[in-house]
């Protein structure tokens, strides 16, 4: 196994490259930003899906909640007196630089807090279930959120809302700002999650995955651990959501914020593709899937989502351990063959 020090050296080299890349390839900066977003999504999904083995289809809920709460705060913080007769989806707020960043920071934090509160409340009801029940219940949650958001006029109902325009007078462009912000955030998430998985808390999560009844009888309050894990995931996911809402500049309940067929499924597929239950798996899966999607999926025209469905079925049925799991298995196999030879 590679040690933490060696890993860290690799990470620093990678980071040095990724800090320079947007300067060299300014046209691809948005795509590169999304790779960092995808890494965060896959990592947060893996907190519950990989480490405790609880397949959540509803994590997209926190992503969308973060996005909406942040957008509402950004809209209403410095421009009071929303015109009742105006169509919400057409309100565009112009802020100066300091107002923009203050409202962005406050909005992101508010979104994250709301998401954590939701995770604790919903989690205490839902995380007592296991297996099929948990999976279908979370799937219901994600879709319920999309349907409810499309019925609320205050946030633009089905036609969505517009996030504030990035102040034009700054030296740092909008694309560059969000690229570095997401890069920084992904790095923080990665190191923090690695720390968590190496701690006793991470061991408890893994104990739940391996045998929940045994973990419970050893004195671990499994439901509380699961709620804590889900809340951590929700916190980071909501921050990512707030950022993505601003990158796109427009929020729509079904297609963007609570979009099951895109972000909601991608985070699961990426974690599995890389290898769920590991720290590097989701990162690897995110990079592979998103680069693949950007390079050749555009050539598939309308069939890209068909390809996604096909990809899920193929990965899950024939390749359920992911890239890292596959190499681990091969290594174990060759090690056992070598040790047998040594004995002979």
């Amino acid at each position: 196994m590679i040690t933490n020090n060696k890993q860290n050296m690799l990470i620093w080299i990678g980071l040095a490259i990724s800090a320079v890349v947007p300067l060299l390839l300014p046209n691809y900066i948005t795509v590169l930003t999304y790779i960092w977003v995808m890494i965060i999504l896959a990592l947060t999904w893996d907190m519950l899906g990989g480490q405790t083995g609880y397949t959540s289809f509803g994590n997209i809920l926190f992503f969308g909640v973060g996005m909406y709460v942040s957008a509402v705060v950004q809209r209403d913080m410095f421009s009071s007196g929303l015109d009742r007769f105006e169509r919400v989806s057409e309100i565009v707020v112009n802020l100066n630089a300091s107002e923009y960043f203050v409202s962005l920071a406050v909005g992101t934090l508010a979104g994250a807090i709301v998401a954590v509160i939701l995770a604790v409340i919903l989690g205490s009801g839902i995380l007592g279930m296991r297996g099929h029940y948990f999976a279908i219940c979370t799937l219901g949650l994600g879709h319920a959120a999309a349907e409810i958001a499309s019925g609320i006029d205050y946030i633009g109902a089905g036609s969505g809302m517009v996030t504030p325009i990035y102040p034009g007078e700054l030296a740092l462009s909008k694309e560059a700002f969000y690229y570095y912000a997401f890069m920084l955030f992904a790095i923080v998430t990665f190191f923090l999650f690695r720390k968590i998985y190496q701690s006793q808390f991470g061991l408890a999560l893994n104990a739940i995955r391996d045998n929940e009844n045994k973990a419970e009888s050893m004195g671990i309050h499994t439901t509380q651990y699961k709620i804590a894990g889900w809340s951590i995931a929700a916190f980071f996911l909501a921050i990512a959501g707030a950022g993505v809402g601003n990158v796109i500049g427009f929020i729509d309940p079904v297609e963007i914020a609570f979009s099951g067929p895109t972000f909601g499924v991608w985070m699961i597929v990426m974690a599995i593709l890389g290898g769920k239950g590991t720290i590097w798996g989701p990162v690897l899966g995110a990079v592979i899937l998103y680069s693949a999607k950007e390079t050749f999926w555009t050539y598939l025209l309308g069939w890209d989502k068909v390809a996604l469905g096909l990809l899920i079925v193929i990965i899950v049925v024939y390749f359920p351990k992911g890239v890292l799991g596959y190499f681990k298995e091969r290594k174990q196999l060759s090690n056992s063959i070598l040790s047998q030879k040594g004995e002979g």
Partner: protein
Amino acid sequence: MITYLNILIDSPEFLAQLIINGLLVGAIFALIAYGLALAWGVMDIINFAQGEFVIFGGYITYTLFYQFGIHPILTIPIVALVLYALGLIIYKTIISRLLGQKDIFITILATFGLAILMQQLMQAIFGPDVVTADPRLGMLKLFDGSILISNIQIVSFIIAISVGILLFVVMKYSRFGQTIRATAQNPRAAGILGIDIDKVYANTFAINTALCGIGGSLVVMVWTIHPFIGLVYTFRSFMIVILAGLGNFMGIIYSGMGISALENVTGFVIGAEFQAAVIFCLLVIILVTRSIRARRKRQYLE
């Protein structure tokens, strides 16, 4: 919301109308749920693509009706056969590889991926529009026209119930039904006694998809469909099964009709824009209450 509630209180005919509509359509939901319960009970697989099979069946009826001019009711046996064959193919390629998987996650995600695949394929083939295949059978007027019921709802109710009863009789009294029930009880013992388990599983899954297809062609006659509405049917059938319990035939009919009537009334009171949200929230509420009740007995839902 309160105004809608007042309408219901002021005119009981309207409430009766909503409930009757719900009960009639509920039989179709019960049929679909019966298929889900069958696959769940026998193979321990929950098919997340259940609703997509329903919609696919609906599209076949629609295509046969508009392209070939076959009367929608007469397409039902064709749809059942096509979906039966599709079920066999999907069993061979996907489902049979999931049986005996220890990780429950794999089966869930595989059928979920299948659902996405079918949604997108249907959108690519049939387009994203809302379609219907109304055979125009007219309306039945009750109480001097204060309650209107379209005849197709009554016809589809009768078809759904008779298909359900037919299947129930086959399960209970035929040799074939006996092998399915034996496999559900104990696959290993059934295998030792000479039952071809793989064949039983394949047939069970194909019967499930055929039931979905029949449900789908009834749905396209009574209501409308589009490629992305399938999930709602998956949720409905899941709700019906967990309310009724596995292997409870009459329970599935009762809870199917009950949920459908309840959904109709609450959908009207809360508003049309929240109609789908009602279904999703109802599912979450039912599951959470069951989970809390189980926790009191120190059990859990799995």
